[in-house]
Amino acid sequence: MVLERGEVANSWRTERWGSLRLLTPNWQSRLPGHRYDGPDPDGYMAMGEVVEFIETFAKVTGAPVLTDANVTSLRPRDDGYQVTSSRGDVHCRAVIIASGACNRPVVPALADAVPPSIEQLTPFEYRNPDQLAEGGVLVVGASATGVQLAAELQRSGRPVTLSVGEHVRLPRTYRGRDVLWWMDASGIWDERYDEIDDLTRARRLPSPQLVGTPERGTLDLNALEAMGVEFVGRWADVRDGRALFSGGLRNMFTLADLKMGRLLGTFDEWARDHGREADVGAPEPLAPTRVPDVARLQLDLRNGEIRTIVWATGFRPNYQWLDVPVLDQKGQLRHEGGVVDMPGLYALGLPVLRRRKSTFIYGIEDDAREVVDHLAGYLAGDRRA
């Protein structure tokens, strides 16, 4: 059975801002036996459409979903597990943890030192620009969430300062194809977790600077700069009511540009080696990230310039309900390709769980098949699996 803390597609209904669309194009929205079949395969689903997509999948598959069943505890019992939920207890032999990697926004400790005159928001609380006071906004973090909110807030007339640390720059389309088409077609997204050199790093990779819009536009830092967004370095400290930013901003740009260049080079190589040149446009060199003449190292948080801070500093899972000793020092689940370090316990939908595409909707199918195979073997008594 499937325990759902709220309604089907709960986090898509309750934990997303209004304008958000999927980063993946519609044609990539596919689950076993269910796929997007609308008129716009290259478009990106709005949240309402995502909810509908997942609801339909639940119906089509006849998944035994128990809604409003918030799990408050999972602990070992006999030869299985005892699951306590708001709709009663379940005793089972095996459990798949599919609660995701983004249950809580991460807010750094320095938030405590921000003067109370400034409003602070996480992406879970943010819905649209009207929520915010008029005036300046400091958006912290330049991954997908940060760049999207920075653009939306800047367009609303609020001057945005964006604090930029390490980030993943990507164009929305490359050589006429969606960049995620390239990730898929060239096989990068199928790279397995046991073939990746630095898996820890791959699993911690920030989300790419992408947005799904009808225009299929790129939302990298050059696009934000053209809109008038100001950049500062990684937020390092607060002293005497002043935010202090790293002076290493330029290297953040360089790292992201080089990394993107290598990736696009991989795409070019793949198209050449696989005779796909005819399917794609001509190679497009991308301009380096423009370095601002001056990047401020300090911002006075008490002079009214900044009225709101939006923390786009990532998310982490919430395992408070997990009464099984399977977390590492950093609070992440210990697992080998979704097989958790405890018999009968499994995970799905975590970053690079078994492949680079593990956290994308269409990435779940291959992972699920392999994890469920292992689980079935376990239930059948084959513990070598």
Partner: protein, 185 residues
């Protein structure tokens, strides 16, 4: 690029990778304290000696003691017995980034032939002289220019330099604020 094992930049990368693995499970051993002992000489001349440090859970020692004279040039009406303290920051930055370039190159199997860096720190001395309280005391900005000859493409060399900044202790110490406590014993 050639294989990591055939490249000889003189960096024992294997030892560093092994250390990384060991320290993953023993964070307390990774706590180091670097120490310097300074002594006023005369005027703005001081002498700083460095030999001992703490790390891997024990007192450690350099093979020999190093002695550094700091002073100011004659245009500062000083005797110029050594470089200025702020120039020591340039020494630290250049040597740290260069060490990083060599290590990353070794790890990536890139043979280096020469690595040279020019480091320039722009400094408005009205700050330290108290001419204008809006001028800061430290560098306004620092520029490092590497000239590298290696068996690698331009992009690979740029990536070496970017990665070396990403893992540099001195680059971090200069670009990010650090809490500093100064007391009288």
């Amino acid at each position: 690029m050639s294989d990591m094992t055939t490249v000889t930049n003189g960096v024992n990368v294997q030892a560093l990778l092994d250390a990384r693995d060991v320290l993953k499970g023993a964070p307390e051993a990774a706590q180091f304290t670097w120490k310097a002992q300074s002594k006023w000489q005369n005027g703005v001349h001081s002498e700083t000696r460095i030999q001992n440090f703490f790390g891997l859970g024990a007192e450690q020692s350099h093979k020999t003691e190093a002695v550094f004279d700091a002073d100011h040039p004659e245009i500062f009406a000083a005797e110029d017995n050594g470089i200025t303290p702020i120039e020591y920051l340039l020494v630290g930055l250049a040597s740290c980034l260069t060490a990083g370039v060599a290590s990353v190159a070794q790890n990536r199997g890139i043979q280096l032939r020469s690595v040279e860096a020019t480091v320039e720190g722009n400094h408005d001395i009205r700050g330290i002289l108290g001419v204008d309280s809006d001028v800061r005391n430290g560098f306004n900005d620092v520029k490092v220019t590497f000239t590298i000859d290696a068996d690698a493409s331009k992009q690979e060399i740029e990536a070496l330099v970017a990665q070396s900044q990403k893992r540099s202790a001195v680059f971090d110490a200069l670009t990010n604020p650090t809490s500093v406590t100064v007391e009288v014993a």
